[in-house]
Amino acid sequence: MTKARRIAAIALLLLTGASLFAGWIARHPYQKQYREAIASPPAAGFPLGTDELGRDRFSRLLHGMRISLLLAPAAALLSTTLAALLGLTAGFLGGWWDRAVTGATDLFLSLPWFFLIITVRALLPLNVAPETSVLITFGLLGLLGWASPARVIRSAVRSLERSDFLLRARAAGSSNPRLLFIHLLPNLAPVLMAQFWIAVPLFLLSEADLGLLGLGVVEPLPSLGNLLRELANFSAVAGNPWMLAPAAAVMTFVGGLHFLLAPRSGAGT
């Protein structure tokens, strides 16, 4: 591992660790208002100051990171599982099912991702409890993000279909479920892992965009997306650079993941 990759890995570990132990690290509850300290600058009790409602920004950042950093991988797992199910069966069974899945994939990929997300999000009630909004936001990302990985997985299955080991297993009389789950699935593990790790930063960025536009996780629950809404107040940000902390957290996490996942010959993109 190169030095730069090691730094990226350490940064990711620190961020993830801090978000997982948010309850221990943060001294104040994320929703508690300190009315005597509205929009205060960083101080001993409030490392990142307080927001316009007097809530501790540091605590909200850690808890917001916890929600985003736990649920973006959960959504990625959901989308990769869906994609694996569809791609695997389409590539293996072929015929009308393959054509149907390929057609649906093409259609989904032709719809701009964010248009699709906000259209489907608007179908569901907007005025919901914060916990429900978390489930809706990340559930939608997981359910709608299957198309691109399904196409890759289907292609991988089609290429494995012609491999010697599968031909031998078929000749030895292996049943279809055995061929699928014992022979094909383990060989697809690297592809599935790659698709999962590609989806995580994409979902983090999508959640950030949805949150900043008011279509993501609902207050008072913090998430990286809705924490970014403070950035729209330019006059406040100009004098209080610590308000950029949520943006820095998103960039560090997404940039770090891109850096770690980039091929070794790449220069960091």
Binding site: P112, T119, L231, G268, T269
Partner: protein
């Protein structure tokens, strides 16, 4: 011809998807006026849309679309076609300029990296592209709004890193091909090598990427136009989503899908013209 049929079929399928979204959305056929406590059951029944069968609903929706009747926006109270016609030029301009800027930067960056094979230059440009890739489109929109640059450069900042990465890798791959090595060894000028031996063979892939970049730019236009206050299709979609204006949102999604499918079709056809042997 087969591809043209596939194009039409995709748009019709997108229409079915849009109609399904409308038909099965919670609250379909319910008017807000029903909440008026003064209304009795008879008045509410008169307000409610007659429950059409599924097939007649689809047929009605698609026929109306084919006739150019895009319905009426529930939040604006105006015909959707009027709203879209007003805002299309704004989006076309910002997406067009954004794409142009993104392509100029991506092609220049990738060409520089290929012409001057220096690890430091490659790292610098790749790191710049990588850092843009790690920033949410909304934050980029706010940054460009703060710089008073407008939506087009923000769209360019979202699209550029994706284009740069692909074009760079493509040109880097071409640079190692035997005929390019031979051309360089024979002393061919850098510009001639770039244009005739790197860009020309990569043209089909680059044209295909141009089609795909339209999708990326349109996707980026929603958060960017919403935050930059640019009165385009993206901002219209955002306000429609906040107001749960499904008729408008579904029509917008269909139009955008039709635009991206057509862009991909045109790019695909152009790529095939450039490399007929791959067709």
């Amino acid at each position: 011809m087969k591809r043209l049929v596939a194009l039409v079929l995709s748009i019709v399928l997108a229409g079915f998807l849009g109609a399904s979204l409308l038909r099965f959305a919670p609250g379909y056929g319910v008017d807000e006026a029903e909440l008026d406590p003064r209304l009795g059951p008879d008045a509410i029944a008169r307000l409610r849309q007659p429950d059409q069968g599924l097939f007649s609903f689809y047929a009605g929706f698609l026929t109306a679309l084919a006739r150019g009747d895009l319905g009426v926006s529930t939040s604006h109270g105006h015909p959707n076609s009027l709203l879209i016609a007003e805002r299309c030029p704004v989006t076309l301009r910002s997406v067009g300029v954004g794409l142009l800027l993104a392509w100029i930067f991506a092609m220049t960056g990738a060409s520089l990296v290929v012409i001057f094979p220096s690890q430091r230059l490659d790292f610098l440009i790749s790191a710049a592209a990588g850092s843009f890739l790690a920033v949410p489109a909304t934050v980029l929109a706010l940054l460009f709004l703060y710089l008073e640059a407008g939506p087009a450069p923000a769209i360019a900042a979202v699209v550029f890193p994706k284009l740069f990465r692909y074009v760079r890798n493509l040109l880097m791959h071409c640079r190692e091909l035997p005929h390019v090595v031979a051309a360089r060894a024979k002393g061919l000028s850098t510009s001639r090598t770039l244009v005739w031996h790197l860009l020309r063979p990569s043209a089909p892939q680059i044209i295909t990427l141009a089609g795909l970049s339209v999708n990326t730019a349109i996707t980026a236009s929603i958060p960017i136009e919403a935050l930059c206050g640019s009165p385009g299709i993206g901002q219209l979609a955002w306000t429609a989503a906040l107001a749960r204006d499904l008729p408008l949102l579904v029509v917008l999604t269909l139009l955008v899908a039709a635009a991206t499918i057509t862009a991909n079709f045109v790019a695909d056809a152009a790529a095939r013209c450039c490399a007929p042997e791959q067709a």
